[in-house]
Amino acid sequence: MSIIETKNLTKYYGKSKGIKDVSLSVHKGEILGFIGPNGAGKSTTIRILLSLIYPTSGSATIFGKDVIQYGPEIKRDIGYLPSEVFYYDKMRVKELLEYSASFYKKDCSGRIKEISGLLNLDLTKKIDDLSYGNKKKVGIVQGLLHSPELIFLDEPTGGLDPLIQKNFFELLKEENRAGKTIFFSSHILSEVQKICDRVAIIKDGELINIESMEHLIQNNYKRIHLTTKEKAKSELFKLPGVSDLKVEKNQVGFLYKGDVNTISRIIAQIDLVDFMVGEPDLEEIFMHYYR
């Protein structure tokens, strides 16, 4: 069963395009990564699904119900962590979480304690006095305290230190094992790779592709950068899977897709000063993966 289903969802802000013809479905119990550069339309899509903004055309359902008509009802089982967290500054963390819990007709106090303990969040502080990362933690707790069936995360890890990030991902995996569906929006590929089952890629407001994580990894490009003692011959790298090759003085850089053994044998023939393999950024993925 599809938890989220959108049909030709389109949103224009005046004349400028937010998203266009976005049709996707999210299955129960999966973690869907939703990736794209800033301004691609990730937040717009989420905000339509939460009926914060209304689509220009197209429709969307969550749990099989129209998001506009049944908004309040659907939201009982939705948790949302926005990309930028803003809460009532004068309140204390505990007050805010209790206020948040008061919207759901169940006791959430146990869950509040549990999650804030896991994230190391001080409940007695004033919201105003919190750092960005700590506000983000408040966001996580308020998004999860009612054990929602569907969780929306909009660039959730900004500001969290690696240790807390790890705990946060553990928490998400645990929720997912319990059958919860997660819609994970991000512009950081590695983050999505760590946790998602499927990935939807959005660019300039349009959904380019949606495929399984496995498939994406198989086709993954690596950004390879070499610093050589002498200028390397560029012919060495003329093989299938290499693109965007640049050889300047003692620097070599290119994108590689294919068997890593092949490329490592070639690199082994060169006298190296330094050697770097990294992930291409999303722009590069868009440029080379989908040309």
Binding site: R47, L50, S51, L52, I53, Y54, G71, P72, E73, I74, K75, R76, I78, Y80, P82, E84, F86, Y87, Y88, D89, K90, Y99, S100, S102, F103, Y104, Q142
Partner: protein, 264 residues
């Protein structure tokens, strides 16, 4: 009713401050009234005040000798102050969620926009009602304490009720602006011009005409001097006020249901 309670808590302190301000204005005038010497010299001075000055503050020639006339002056000042309180409250109650970027938090909870609006509207009306009840009680106490020949409770109550009517108008008007305007950057920048604009319109009664002006500004819906002298409200003006308020509130509900909530 969690939003209702939340708003009462959030606005508690500012409501206390406003109630104190209203009481302070009344206390100042009521307490000095007994010590004003009653002689013809002073009456002459007042008589020679410029007409426009007298009009602005609703002063009649006998305001230093007859308490009902003084109380009309007090009410005029209280109405103006109370209008600012109500306008601030009405304008900010919805717009602050957008300004402080908390709308996203609130509207992703399982609550309909209509419910958000009605709980918030109810909370601001409650706050105004509390302000007015406290003001009435203390004000009546002050009058009993300082004035030898106070007017009847009925006259006091009916005339002071004008505060609630004026505030109700500005509350609804502010509520309308707070929901309809895309973004209110500063509440004061909206509320002060609105309140003083209506007040200034009220001073143009000789130009516009006594009958027309009643419909143009809430400050002239009724004549405070008539009320403190034992008069009552015109029913048609109260109906007119109710129609304006219902119109403003309904428009807010319709517009807010369809509004896109932006973060940035």
């Amino acid at each position: 009713m969690n939003i209702f309670i939340q708003e009462l808590k959030q606005n508690r302190n500012s409501t206390i401050v406003w109630a104190i301000a209203l009481i302070a204005i009344a206390a100042l005038y009521i307490s000095i009234f007994p010590s004003i010497p009653q002689n013809t010299d002073i009456a002459d001075v007042v008589k020679n005040f410029p007409e426009s000055f007298k009009k602005t503050f609703g002063i009649t020639d006998d305001f230093l000798s007859a308490f009902p006339s003084l109380y009309a002056l007090v009410l005029n000042l209280v109405l103006l102050t109370g209008a600012v309180q109500a306008m601030n409250l009405g304008t900010s109650i919805i717009s602050k969620e957008v300004r402080d970027k908390t709308a996203e938090f609130l509207l992703t909870k399982p609550v309909s926009r209509a419910s958000v609006l009605h709980q918030k509207l109810l909370s601001v009306f409650t706050l105004i009602l509390i302000t007015d009840l406290v003001f009435f009680a203390v004000d009546w106490g002050l009058i009993q304490t300082f004035i030898d020949d106070p007017f009847k409770f009925e006259t006091f109550f009916i005339s002071s009720l004008s505060l609630f009517f004026v505030q109700s108008f500005f509350l609804s008007f502010g509520f309308l602006l707070g929901t309809v305007l895309p973004k209110v950057k500063s509440v004061i920048a909206v509320s002060l011009p609105a309140v003083f604009g209506f007040y200034i319109i009220g001073m143009l009664d000789t130009v516009i005409g006594e009958e027309k002006i009643k419909f143009l500004t809430p400050f002239k819906l009724f004549n405070v001097n008539t009320l403190t002298a034992g008069g009552s409200y015109e029913l048609r003006m109260l109906v007119y006020l109710a129609v304006l308020m219902i119109g403003a509130v309904l428009t807010s509900f319709v517009v807010y249901q369809k509004k896109d909530i932006h973060t940035i």
